[in-house]
Symmetry: C2
Subunit: 107 residues, 2 copies
């Protein structure tokens, strides 16, 4: 899961995901046309996305097609974000309680 968070941390990689979201199954060279960076740079980013299992590569001849894999995002959403979202109300009441404690007359 650490790999997923790390992969999402970079804006270029998020842009790549967005690009694939727009048109799934693009080759490396196709993806290069949308991001001003060398092919090798993009290939590195794709490597991290693939390592994080956010993107799945499929070879067709000499072309490498890149497909989105939404599973890790779903996992993060379910196992991490929802857990914290569930504590939303609690966190807010904690904050207001903290603010109340700041009032001098409340001590």
């Amino acid at each position: 899961m650490d790999d997923v968070f790390k992969a999402l941390a970079d804006p270029s990689r998020r842009a790549l995901l967005d690009q694939l979201h727009l048109h799934n199954g693009q080759t490396l060279n196709q993806l290069c046309q949308h991001l001003r960076m060398t092919r090798q740079g993009i290939a590195k980013h794709l490597g991290l996305l693939i390592k994080a299992d956010l993107v799945i590569p499929l070879w067709r001849g000499r072309e490498k097609l890149h497909y989105l894999n939404p599973a890790p995002l779903k996992q993060i959403s379910e196992r991490w974000i929802d857990k914290h979202k569930a504590a939303c109300l609690r966190a807010l009441t904690d904050l207001t309680k903290g603010l109340d404690a700041l009032k001098p007359e409340s001590n």
Copy 2:
């Protein structure tokens, strides 16, 4: 939003969020007891969490209480993850179509 993704990328910072999730409103020194790192190191991490608005600090005298703010996580979930999750089915069909195209007899 970039700050939020960057803040979430480090396991120590996620551990801090978990710790606050366990007991909201802890001071810096309290948080230090759960993570084997110097106070200054933790303070740096908290600084990034605060910059990303994931944690809101409240001063009470010389103590700095740290409160979770679930809003950014909710935003990320809604504006980013859900969008990709929505494409889940599509991504999978794309993948299987890609796999089909690999079969030589399908060309």
